[in-house]
Amino acid sequence: MMDLLTALAISALFGVGVFQMLRRNLIRSAIGLAILSNAINLFLLAAGAYRGEVAAYANLAGQRSDALPQALVLTAIVISMGGFALILAMLYVLSVRYKTSDSDEVKGLRH
């Protein structure tokens, strides 16, 4: 049951992220990217859930989550935070220059 719920939540986040990414509004598409990155972080986390071994020093019985994907996700979160900050900074420069957030209006590179 929990597996199914997790899978559904991740797929819902994926859907929302991709949908937002394809919007014409630049800010929405940047937010879509952030949602997508969260979906992928959850996917990575799920990759290690429910099937790991107990750590050698923990004297517990039964199954535990694998700890490695959690470390990976931590790194990925930090990197995507930095990436999102850089995206927003560049978006700010663009919105000041073009006075719009419509991606069709931002066409300085189109010749």
Partner: protein
């Protein structure tokens, strides 16, 4: 110091130099000298690494923190990594040298040199790491530095181009993260050597092929391969010249490196699925890049498109995948890096003479009259790019045609052969526009432009490699020998 630790230095030196360079931002001269020193020492250590690996015939393997291979973070300098890193560091150092003599505004920016060093760290780290997740981390470092360097460009559209690139690259990194997740679920490891062993032993888990596809998407975006190329001309044209020279020559080679690793180490058994795709993408890329370059209006943009075309040749060779074709791909990649970086620097130095800095043909027509030396170098480089002897480009094209004829795959061979002629067309056209046409009335070129030391060194190297190619051929031959025995890599990393 233990011998293996050497392999860390080409990554560690630029990384450690970044914070110091940031602290030195109030003294631009000291900062430039420090950063250039770091860049040069990284280049020298990468040469030492290559020499060590080549002579001993064993990869240098560093297990960070002393944790044994599948558990810790591994750095591996096998011959392929060492060669690619040497090539990258050589062009990066020359790009740095060019930046020191460039008259761009953005070179004065206090964070320019630290960002450049970060670019060097990301690129050499991504090529040396023995772990898929670290590949993601270093690729992100590379993307951050590249996007920031372009966003501060003198070009008005720098930020826009950087945004486009950064967005696409983040998506590519997501693809790689999904591949990481898929591989981890299937095999419980992310170490390249361990993965290679396990995939060879049991290719049945359902997520292996999707992971391979996602990884291929990642490397296609990194290498600006055909369906994922659309950011490349805009982004590269808007980048400052020294950065453009690096991005368009060695940074795109990360994709080439990735495909070499995927087809020979990670997924050798599944590579048959990837190969036709690479050949198709390569042929389309060679034509698209060639025609795009012939039809464009701007010298830097022409060379950016030309990169797409030249990468197409390398991809076709990787797609053929015979030992001879792989040798051709390596030689081609090395020669293209030298030539393309030099050509871009020359185009940039002519653009820096224009009254308003631009590389548009209508603005730089006839401007070559003030820099005849650049003209000679540009002609030599262009001949190399088009594959005219005695330059090194001739040898790389010759090897590609030989390897294609050897396996009798004539259709792609004919297609890229014709695309190669287009190279000659656009190079000669650019030369004719810039150096042979008379200068229009009333145009006053600037008395000084960017210095020509770096492109002169690169062209001299290209000529030397054209006349005496044996060392490069021997090296590529040995690299291919290594690639054909992935067991050697696996054993060196995992021990036993």
């Amino acid at each position: 110091m233990e011998r293996n630790t050497l392999a860390l230095l080409p990554v560690l030196i630029p990384l450690a130099a970044v914070p110091v360079a940031v602290l030195l931002r109030r003294n631009p001269r000291v900062q430039a000298a420090w950063s250039f020193g770091a860049m040069l020492s990284a280049f020298i250590t990468s040469a030492i690494v290559l020499q060590q690996v080549w002579q001993s015939g064993k990869p240098l393997v560093v297990q960070l923190g002393g944790w044994a291979a599948p558990f810790g973070i591994t750095f591996v300098a096998d011959l392929l990594s060492a060669m690619m890193v040497l090539m990258s560091q050589l062009v990066l150092s020359m790009g740095f040298l060019y930046a020191l003599g460039a008259r761009d505004q953005c070179v004065q920016y206090p964070m320019f040199f630290p960002l450049f060093l970060m670019l060097a760290t990301g690129l050499s780290g991504a090529m040396m790491t023995g772990d898929v997740f670290n590949l993601f981390v270093f690729a992100e470092l590379l993307v951050f530095a590249g996007a920031a360097l372009t966003a501060i460009s003198d070009d008005r559209f720098g930020t826009e181009a950087a945004y486009k690139y950064f967005y696409i690259s983040l998506l590519a990194s997501f693809a790689l993260l999904l591949a990481v997740g898929g591989l981890y679920v299937s095999y419980g490891t992310l170490n390249l050597a361990d993965l290679a062993q396990r995939i060879a032993a049991d290719p049945s888990p359902p997520l292996v092929l999707p992971a391979m596809a996602l990884m291929a998407v990642f490397f296609m975006v990194k290498g600006a391969v055909m369906p994922f190329h659309f950011w490349q001309p805009d982004f590269h044209t808007a980048a400052p010249t020294p950065v453009h020279a690096v991005l368009s020559s060695v940074v795109v080679k990360l994709g080439i490196y990735g495909f070499l690793r995927m087809t020979t180490l990670l997924f050798p058994a599944q590579a048959e699925l990837l190969r036709p795709l690479l050949i198709l993408a390569g042929v389309i890329g060679a034509w698209f890049g060639g025609l795009g370059a012939a039809g464009t209006y701007d010298a830097k943009r022409m060379l950016a498109y030309s990169t797409l075309g030249q990468l197409g040749f390398i991809l076709v060779a990787i797609g053929w995948g015979t030992p001879l074709a792989l040798i051709a791909a390596l030689v081609y990649a090395f020669n293209h890096s030298l030539l393309k970086a030099a050509m871009l620097m020359l185009a940039g130095s002519v653009a820096s003479r224009a009254p308003v800095k631009t590389a548009a043909f209508e603005a730089i027509t006839g401007l070559g009259k003030v820099t005849p030396a650049a003209g000679v170098l540009f002609l030599l480089g262009g001949m190399g790019l088009a594959g005219v002897p005695p330059l090194n480009g001739f040898i790389s094209k010759l090897l590609i045609f030989q390897s294609g004829a050897a396996i009798g795959d004539y259709a792609p061979l004919a297609a890229i052969g014709l695309a190669g002629i287009v190279t000659l067309v656009y190079v000669v056209r650019a030369f004719q526009r810039i150096w042979w046409s008379p200068m229009p009335e009333g145009v006053k070129p600037k008395p000084y432009g960017d210095r020509l030391v770096a492109p002169a060194i690169l062209i001299a190297l290209s000529v030397a490699l054209g006349i005496w190619p044996e060392p490069l051929l021997q090296l590529s031959n040995d690299v291919v020998d290594w690639m054909r025995t992935p067991d050697q890599y696996v054993r060196a990393v995992l021990g036993g």
